[in-house]
Amino acid sequence: MASTEWFQTDRYRAKEGLGVWEHKGKAAIAGLGNSPTTRRWDGDLSTSLGAWAILAAERALDDAGITKDEIDGVVSCPQGMGDEWGAERGYFAAPYDTEDGLSGVSAHWLVKNMGLENVKTTYHAPGCMSTALVAGAEVVGSGEAKTILVIRGTGNMPGRYHQTPGDTVGGPQQWTNPWGWQLIPQIAFGFDQYCRKYGSNHDRMAPFVLNQRRNGSMFPEGFYYQNRPDDLNLTVDDYLASRWICKPMNINDCDLPIQTAGAFLITTGERARQMKKKPVYILNHVQQRGVVRSSLETLDETEEFSLSIAKKCYEGSGLTASEVDVFNPYDGFTLFTQSFLEGFGWHGVKHGEAHDFYGDDIRVEGPHPFSSSGGNNGNGRTRWWGFYDSVQQLRGEAGARQVQIKAETAIAGAFTPQISDWLVLGTSPD
């Protein structure tokens, strides 16, 4: 197996009006695994993304209580989120003689180097673990494979990353780069628009960010818990004094790039019931790929996208907003998370009310345990902590983070309102 195809785009559930997912409850998450975390890769092959993807996969197998012989499929998001290692730094002996295994991990790399001899199905999904997870849900739900690993390695190489050099620019960026418009200004501008529309301000984000860090202090798999626990003691004064990246976005609204790998084991509901852990059934999967009118996303478009995501999640699972117990929308920039909260209407939150809600009791012990994972902000950049936490919450295995309200259903997703993928999970397949 030398290569892997992209998962077919027409199999993502991206449209409204598709009805209840025809494979609702047929697939379940039965294993979780995460490697250690570190801020940057130091060139030691024992902590490469490839090595850590294998470790995460082994941990997911252990968690499910099965051996690798049972794995018949692998879905990977093969791209990391940092820069490439680069040929100029020099590659290593096989299997590290190309970029694969260093700045990202392909499905066929894992199959070969983990010795997964019974794998017949592999797919790639672009951009995000969330995309690989929804593809994996469809692969198992449709019966194409029975027991699969869904993996992603996300790395951070030495030095500053994603810098844009040069004095000329073509392609789509000819419309944006001359002014410095990229994702960060988009999010900062969108947040400013939100505050102007609803009469709020950036200071009112502090309770949410501090609570994300607090949840991170109870997440042993996370980067800060393992490496920088002092950063979890962020105070309101610290937050408000943080340096601006793109005002009104400060450094503590941004997630920290890290090096780590994660794995989810998805199998049939029937097989999951025989495995070690309580099954967490997949009730629906959803994709959002919003098209914007211009070079930027307006607040109206952001709100339209979030409403569409929620509508699709609810429609395909048969759940209503009031039936969602655990809610882990993405926070990789904290400044767009309110759009998900309001779009889904979780705990009755309406447009313009998110910042009031943040000022209420959103602790995991309280009545509104919003984003119980702590997200990327509380654990470092992966885009999968929300899925990981949701499974742990529904198993009743979230430890100090375990929510005190009922935890029978969950929704998690990443990345932005415009581009994201979502799972609806439940302790029951129905």
């Binding site: 994603h162 810098q163 844009t164 050099p165 040069g166 004095d167 000329t168 620019v169 073509g170 392609g171 789509p172 000819q174 419309w175 944006t176 780069n177 001359p178 002014w179 410095g180 418009w181 990229q182 960060i184 200004p185 900062a188 501008f189 400013d192 628009q193 102007r196 340096r243 601006w244 990246i245 793109c246 005002k247 009104p248 976005m249 098209v291 009118r293 211009s294 070079s295 930027l296 307006t298």
Partner: protein, 137 residues
């Protein structure tokens, strides 16, 4: 503020040529009259590939903004912090363009809603000019 120079392509050439001539144009669909910016090979609304450049008045207003302190764009880093404003055109508010608002102080009092007028700026990497916007006093 010196910017990266856009490199025109088949679809964008008419827009950038107009900037060099001191005119602001927007792509308009000949089939349904839909306006779109940036230009695309096909109309976003009806799919037609038949379009013309429609000249705009060159006036607009500040729709919103943010202030960049730590840009990825190396060509702009020495000018931080700088404003990135979103301008909506007077003739077609659904059409948005970006601006550094030359002449406007970089502080918390950027006049959202204020009227602006287009000017044309030189860029760093070529003779290509770009549309910029100044607050009308």
């Amino acid at each position: 503020m010196p910017k990266m120079s856009p490199v025109p392509d088949e679809v964008s050439q008419g827009f950038w040529d107009a900037c060099n001539e001191g005119r602001l144009v927007v792509q308009s669909c000949n089939a349904c009259s839909w306006l779109q910016h940036p230009p695309r090979p096909e109309c976003y609304n009806c799919g037609s590939t038949d379009s013309v450049w429609r000249e705009m008045s060159g006036r607009g207003k500040i729709h919103g903004y943010c202030t960049m302190y730590d840009s990825r764009i190396r060509a702009l880093q020495e000018h931080q912090p700088f404003i990135i404003a979103v301008i909506e055109l007077e003739d077609a508010p659904e059409i948005k363009m970006f601006s550094h608002l030359p002449g406007t102080p970089v502080d918390d009092n950027v006049p959202v809603g204020a009227t602006v007028e287009v000017v044309y700026e030189d860029t760093k990497g070529s003779d290509q000019k770009v549309a910029e916007w100044k607050v009308v006093s």
